[in-house]
Assembly symmetry: C2
Homo-oligomer: 575 residues x 2
């Protein structure tokens, strides 16, 4: 149950697909150092974290053995600050660097990595919407990791539909008093940092109903004095922890705000505009969860591959070797490993590519370039989130299957990845929500401009064939149905998103294969670690994907264009 | 977390697809009584069984609370005897009756149902291969359920490749002394019956190496006197229980035979022919596991559907209803439910159809009919096992997804189905083994006769189109590659099996839809509970499947015919 960060694969995707400069000498150093922390510190406590779980005792959450020390090492290494604003102590590194680094944390120990993931979202939020005083007081220590941040959205009656939330915020002088209950709060309470900065959605007394009456509040666990020193506890507590299928090392809290006088909270941004502000952060988190899909798949793959190399069972079907052989020799096992590896490469490249577009959307040469990059990010974020995580779960399942009977035994570790992965299609907006976001907000409302720009770029890259035609046809259908018959478009949204993912993955692997081909044939430069066998594998993976995964595109197109009618017209009482 | 057996769906599949007589008045009675036991007794202890698990203490396995009483009720109801030989106390009912009944046990409580499932396999084995004295002594009480049977195949170094097994059997007078360790023994030790009859594979001292030197032994937990009375304990014990991903209510044992003088065992059938005998039983078990795929999918579906009816969240996209609506109104949720339901119907019909073929293979009008039915059973058994269980896992995953965040919380129950289901593609021969069995033993070795007969019957039933053409083309490829390039055929076996399953499911739903259409339009007779809405849903499910699932056939054909090359020629050192 070890983890070795696939640095050569990461570097190749970064420089050959995402456009990260090949001459960035700091990149291999940073990745190498992160790989060390991930492999030596975080991965070894992953299984123990699952077994022991986070525990609530007398209102205090105790994280599993080793998590506190690992978090201290994480903070000490400055890893929390990688992508953050240098004005407040961040390193200001691009997302193309922060993304592979975060992939390592999530692959090594997803339950642990959720803590910095949520903190990062809170930092983004405060950076974009906080007042100068709020930034000055909170950001430096959130960025260093001394304090952590959380997102408090969900309530029992308000999950996908946040407009239903009921938590109240009553003004009192310069601050508000918050009262209400929040559920599913990841790392809502813990013992790895001295303070927790909760980002809480709530309603003020005069707020309009629905999603237009939601404001955002900063609610510290421990009150912070104007000089930055810590004061007494705020009126909030963790009431209980959820018993979950996976990510047991991470505390998922029911939080009670204001059982007594009301928790002191500070308005962030404009009143009644909290949901908009939260969405800034949620896009960040959605990329982060999509990255978890890659990460957990990579971890499952490494474990399955290593097992397949050492487990000896059965004869070589091609008769190449006498006697029993390692099961990696069996074609069915090799097919499973290639199915995992090809899709991991595709997902990773798409995620890094999208991260590079985020960088471009901020630092692009001109306004047009920045706008085009932002449009691409908006379009691909739900795809990265949902496609990666659906495929990530499938890959974790293959990881079990490669192990045979041992895969079902918890000590083996494959089952943990399968359990951990299963949250990713659910949180930060279910994959159904992502599909609706893609269909309605990113394609229909945009009149297909961003999607057509993507299709044009794929064609410029030489892509053609039935799969691309399928995506074009399905896009046309979504544009039509989205306005003419929203229920039909909604019924088609999930296969449409999958179709976009399948074709985008093909696009990414084609880019990788071409770069590999150039390096192999013409001696074009390739990143460190990319020897001839590595490059040949990239070409093989692209071809494997084209023949084994990409053909799904046409089936998905049929599901999009013909499959929704029976969904939309169903009288559900007969089910 | 209730379970209501879908009796109308079962009846419809039995009479309209599997050919069970419509005028069998006992069928609704039997199903009704079984449904009562499943819903009232077995389903309520399913969650507790998962939480508590089976526990080993001082060599004694304690089953979870309620299991002992439930098993007593099961035995008292005579349910164990349903398909068994009347000569030894069985009810001699056909597999078309035994199969829906067993579906109920597995849907209600899969961990519990494994006990009678394994017992049934042992009964089959002894009925087919035991001596008259062995049958007389053991069968009546195994058939009544007073004693239970187990299968002891796997050893640490011998899983899929049983030829590697090392357990020894040394002759001593009329019996043998068995020494060795067996792992993954389902219900190998427990407290619900007074004796356990272990069916154990082992080698005699003079046995040839490999799979041709394996014999089968009956090894009772408690020695049985010639008069049937119980004597002292045999030299065998449960050493430990596995910690598993799911089916925690069922003890999965490491068994030690002969720690002292050697366990007394009795040869069953001919020496060195144990593997052949075991395969008789394994086909039975494989059908049983395929049935578990349907059962757990049905359970997951019912839970998801019921949750979707009561959970209120979000607006109706078609604007039909003001305010928040139950999520079953959302097209994406309806698509998930239809994806579950359509495939469950397809899998159930294929399983019942194959069960009917088993009945025909034994009781068909003439030798030709019996042989044709047996060939169909041989062909479809690996499909029922592997396709049902792969799809069953996918459906259990959709079951979680319908619940959103609540699906990840163990108390909800959806996660247990997901965990329980995951064993089914693994045990009784992994699905990779099933695919190889289909490809090499059932298609290639048979020169495609049984598969061509199936294709011809599908055409006679009016099936046509791209999916059928895809199956024909893929079959032609397998016949060619199976002889010319076995590694290529082995690489294509898994998508080939899936393709057979997808098309066979379409065939089954087409039969159902036609029967429904006849009943609706022409007033043809339909089973009880099949009202106009029920019949219309059958037609809708077939159409939904045709548009959303069946198009995968072409993608799978490409994977079969083109996808294996990169698998077969891979140098796995580069992975």
């Amino acid at each position: 149950m070890t983890y070795a960060a696939p640095i050569a694969d990461m570097m190749f995707a970064l420089t050959e697909v995402a456009g990260h400069p090949r001459d960035d000498d700091t990149l291999p150093q940073i990745l190498g150092q992160a790989a060390k922390l991930a492999g030596d510190v975080l991965a070894p406590i992953n299984r123990a974290g699952d077994l022991e779980g986070a525990v609530l005792e007398n209102g205090v959450v105790r994280t599993p053995k080793g998590f506190k020390e690992a978090y201290a090492a994480f903070v000490k290494g400055g890893w929390n600050a990688v992508p953050c604003d240098p004005d407040h102590g961040g390193q200001g590194l691009p997302w193309t660097v922060a993304t592979p680094v975060a992939e390592m944390w999530n692959a090594a120990n997803m339950a642990f990595a959720l803590c910095p993931l949520l903190n990062q979202g809170a930092i983004e939020l405060l950076t974009a919407h906080g007042s100068p005083a709020q930034k000055k007081l909170y950001l430096p220590r959130m960025i260093s990791g001394e304090w952590t941040g959380t997102m408090n959205l969900t309530e029992p009656q308000a999950g996908s539909d946040l407009g239903q939330l009921k938590t109240r915020a009553v003004p009192e002088g310069e601050h508000y008093r918050i009262k209400g209950q929040k559920i599913f709060i990841t790392w809502g309470e813990h013992d790895v940092a001295e303070n927790i900065v909760h980002m809480v959605l709530a309603r003020t007394p005069d707020a309009p109903a629905g999603s237009r009456g939601i404001s955002l509040f900063l609610v510290p666990k421990v009150m912070v004095r104007p000089d930055g020193g810590l004061d007494g506890r705020n009126d909030l507590r963790c009431v209980s922890l959820e018993h979950k299928l996976g990510i047991n090392g991470s505390p998922t809290c029911v939080m009670a705000y204001g059982d007594n006088d009301g928790a002191v909270g500070y308005l962030v941004g404009a009143k009644n505009r909290g949901l908009e502000a939260m969405f800034t952060m949620m896009n960040n988190e959605r990329m982060g969860v999509g990255l978890q899909g890659v990460a957990i798949a990579e971890r499952a793959y490494q474990q399955a591959r290593d097992y397949a190399r050492q487990r000896v069972q059965g004869r070589d079907v091609s008769g190449g070797k006498p006697g029993s052989v390692a099961i990696i020799r069996h074609p069915d096992v090799r097919r499973m490993l290639l199915t995992m590896k090809a899709q991991i490469d595709a997902m990773r490249a798409l995620t890094y590519y999208t991260a590079a577009q985020i960088d471009l959307s901020k630092g692009g040469a001109d306004a047009a370039a920045r706008a085009a990059a932002q449009a691409r990010v908006d379009l691909l974020t739900p795809v990265v989130k949902a496609w990666n995580t659906d495929v990530g779960c499938e890959i974790a399942s293959l990881g079990i299957q490669v192990h045979g009977g041992m895969g079902f035994i918890e000590e083996t570790g494959a089952a943990q990845h399968y359990r951990d992965a299963r949250i990713t299609p659910i949180y930060e907006g279910t994959n159904g929500i992502q599909a609706a976001d893609l269909a309605f907000r990113k394609v229909v409302r945009d009149d297909g401009r961003a999607m057509n720009a993507l299709l044009a770029e794929m064609k410029d890259d030489g892509l053609s064939g039935a799969a691309l035609a399928a995506l074009e046809k399905a896009t046309g259908f979504m544009l039509f149905a989205g306005k003419a018959n929203p229920a039909l478009a909604a019924a088609a949204a999930t296969p449409y998103l999958r179709l976009v993912g399948v074709v985008a993955g093909h696009w990414m692997l084609t880019r990788q294969a071409r770069a590999a081909d150039r390096a192999l044939r013409d001696g074009a430069p390739a990143p460190e670690g990319a020897g001839p066998e590595f490059l040949a594998l990239k070409i093989r993976l692209a071809r494997f994907y084209e023949r084994n995964i990409l053909p799904q595109a046409e089936a998905l197109e049929t599901a999009v264009t013909e499959g929704g009618d029976d969904v939309a017209t169903l009288d559900d009482a007969v089910l």
